[in-house]
């Protein structure tokens, strides 16, 4: 329970995070990063950027409205997009060691987003459990 309460806090901080995710995705739509472009081409880079924007919008909506479903749906897209960026950066580290910092930051972001998804998943589970415990008349 303590875990869930801890995961619930920081609404504005999370809102700002998702806003940055949307900005990052939008930026990537116009100017896709070299690591992703060289990894999968224009379509893959565009797909991940679009997922980042769509997921970020869903997460931002959920956070601002206090609805868990927004983050539950948006976080897989955002997490996977960040993971793709991290993987692409790590892939290019042997050629350019300077990318290691960016790769590490992207990995940390991925892990934090995945942790939040785990928290939201737990909240969804609790919500369903509570609904099944005491069915309300519609």
């Amino acid at each position: 329970m303590t875990q869930v309460v801890a995961a619930e806090g920081g609404r504005w901080l999370r809102g700002a995070t998702y806003l940055m995710v949307i900005c990052g995705g939008a930026w990537s739509l116009w100017w896709p990063g070299h690591p992703l472009l060289s990894g999968g081409g224009q379509i893959v880079a565009f797909g991940y950027a679009a997922a980042m924007v769509a997921g970020g919008l869903s997460c931002l909506y959920g956070t601002l409205r206090g609805r868990w479903s927004g983050e539950l749906l948006g976080l897989p897209m955002v997490t996977v997009s960040t993971a793709a960026v991290a993987i692409a950066l790590w892939w290019h580290i042997p050629a350019s060691l300077g990318l290691s910092v960016l790769g590490t930051v992207a990995t940390v972001c991925t892990l934090l987003l995945a942790d939040r998804w785990r928290g939201v998943w737990k909240i969804a589970h609790l919500a369903r459990e509570a609904a099944n415990r005491a069915p309300r008349s519609a």
């Binding site: 329970m1 868990w68 919500a127 509570a130 609904a131």
Partner: protein, 100 residues
């Protein structure tokens, strides 16, 4: 099979699609069952239920203790008045006894 960056990215993308579909199914199932939409309400409901369960457990323990005391008093009175009741016996082992 050669696992290059394009294959890795495709793998991650597939996992993302799977995760999103799983999340859609989870959200749909929860809302179908009448789950609360707001995160704060969910947490409050869960806290209320936990508090209620704690109260019920304390109540049950108090009732059990009351009946145990009555049983011991009756046993003692029976002995004091010349009766020969059977032994009270040992208390049941607690959960912590089993774990050690």
């Amino acid at each position: 099979m050669h696992l290059g960056l394009p294959e890795l990215l495709a793998l991650v993308g597939t996992a993302g699609i799977g995760g999103t579909l799983l999340a859609i199914a989870k959200a749909w199932a929860a809302h179908r069952d009448g789950a609360r939409a707001r995160e704060r309400d969910v947490i409050k409901d869960s806290e209320d239920w936990r508090r209620h369960a704690d109260d019920a457990r304390r109540d049950a323990e108090a009732r059990a203790a009351w009946w145990r005391d009555r049983a011991a008093e009756l046993w003692l009175q029976c002995v004091q008045h010349g009766g020969q009741p059977g032994p009270l016996g040992r208390p049941p082992r607690s959960e912590s006894d089993f774990s050690t």
